[in-house]
């Protein structure tokens, strides 16, 4: 079984801040289920997936901001207005993605 926290630990050990994006709720048909996660680094590198496509690209963009500001935010990804797109990730649903910054606090070491 995958464990995304192994990846998170590796980044934190190198002194980096990463964003963890989690699907917290969905409506309609979505490419992945509640609880699916991906890690985004300061440079926009991605580990894991929340379904790919335009939705994931939007989340990646927001996640880079979350790493920079270290402030969590929730992004609503709407896969409804995407019908004309040729992306394979068009499902017709809506998902809320919570993006949370993780970093190593100096005082806790």
């Amino acid at each position: 079984m995958e464990n995304i926290y192994d990846d998170v630990k590796e980044f934190l050990d190198q002194g980096e801040t990463v964003a963890v994006a989690t699907i917290v709720s969905t409506k309609g048909s979505t490419p992945r289920e509640v609880g699916a996660k991906m890690v985004v680094t300061a440079w926009g590198e991605i580990l894991g997936t929340i379904g790919g496509g335009c939705g994931e690209a939007d989340v990646r963009r927001e996640a880079i901001e979350v790493v920079r500001t270290r402030k969590p935010r929730t992004v609503r990804v709407d896969l409804l207005d995407d019908i004309s797109s040729d992306s394979p990730a068009v499902c017709g649903g809506i998902m809320n993605v919570f993006i949370d910054p993780w970093w190593k606090d100096e005082e806790s070491d």
Partner: protein
């Protein structure tokens, strides 16, 4: 945050069940901000702090429900003081455990298929000719001993599934007695309708076992897919276990009969 990551990795490697609680959005909830976390394991908070005793109870109760249905979920939480927060319960379930009582001809394919699906598998029989490593190379534990006594001593949790497929009712029944009031997610017992009915009647009349407890038992065991061979019966049993675990209806998705 470092301590939390380490604990999460440890939980995974130990195969323990846990729930990570994260505040997604907080409206007027004192001292709780978006991104605040606590970790629940073994029914208590092991990392992070909740200052409100009532709120802590609410979170623990919800965490325990989430752990038992194995679905992560966003929950709206309210406090007596009028605060409200959207809280995400991320479930890290322990791997499901399958206890196979009776190491006969159905047990062999049953254990193989269950291992393919990453179950922790325990096989029990009182005959070493059947319960041995040659027959069950993939099993996590193979136990030789009195079956009812062994079942009695095993740790059974809400992620435990028990299959009673011994060589006769004489052996299935005492095992079932040990299991009825334990928190297993699934108890299945092999046998014909007639023999099962007789067994349940005995339980009710002789021992005052409640209807409610008896109704937990899946017997005759397995899904109705007209199984014939031991391999097919094993698949039918695991199909039923998946249905119970995930909450399915077990029809063809096309609705075709």
């Amino acid at each position: 945050m470092d301590a939390l990551v380490q604990e999460l990795i440890k939980i995974k490697s130990e195969g323990a069940g846990a729930v990570l609680i994260t505040v997604v959005e907080s409206q007027g909830l004192d001292g709780l901000d978006s991104g605040d976390k606590c970790l629940v394991r073994d029914g208590r908070i092991v990392l992070g702090e909740v200052n409100d005793g009532d709120l802590e109870q609410t979170l623990l109760r919800e965490a325990s429900e989430r752990l038992s249905d194995e679905h992560s979920r966003l929950v709206s939480v309210e406090t007596a003081s009028g605060g409200q927060a959207d809280v995400f319960f991320e479930v890290m379930p322990s791997p499901p455990k399958l206890i196979v009582v009776g190491a006969g001809h159905i047990a062999v394919p049953l254990v193989k298929i269950a291992k393919l699906m990453d179950y922790h598998v325990v096989v029990i029989d009182d005959r070493i000719l059947f319960a041995n490593r040659e027959r069950f190379p993939d099993a996590d534990e193979v136990i030789v001993g009195d079956m009812a006594e062994t079942v009695k001593a095993l740790d059974i949790t809400p992620t435990t599934y028990v299959v009673l497929i011994t060589r006769g009712h004489k052996y299935d029944e005492p095992c079932l007695r040990e299991l009825l009031d334990r928190p297993a997610k699934y108890i299945g017992m092999i046998g014909s309708k007639r023999r099962i009915k007789a067994c349940f009647e005995r339980f009710k009349e002789e021992e005052y076992v409640s209807e409610e407890l008896i109704s937990r038992v899946y017997a005759p065991i397995g899904l109705d897919i007209a199984t014939e061979t031991p391999e097919e019966i094993a698949l039918g049993i695991l199909g039923e276990i998946i249905k119970v675990r995930r909450g399915g209806k077990a029809q063809s998705l096309s609705r075709k009969r």
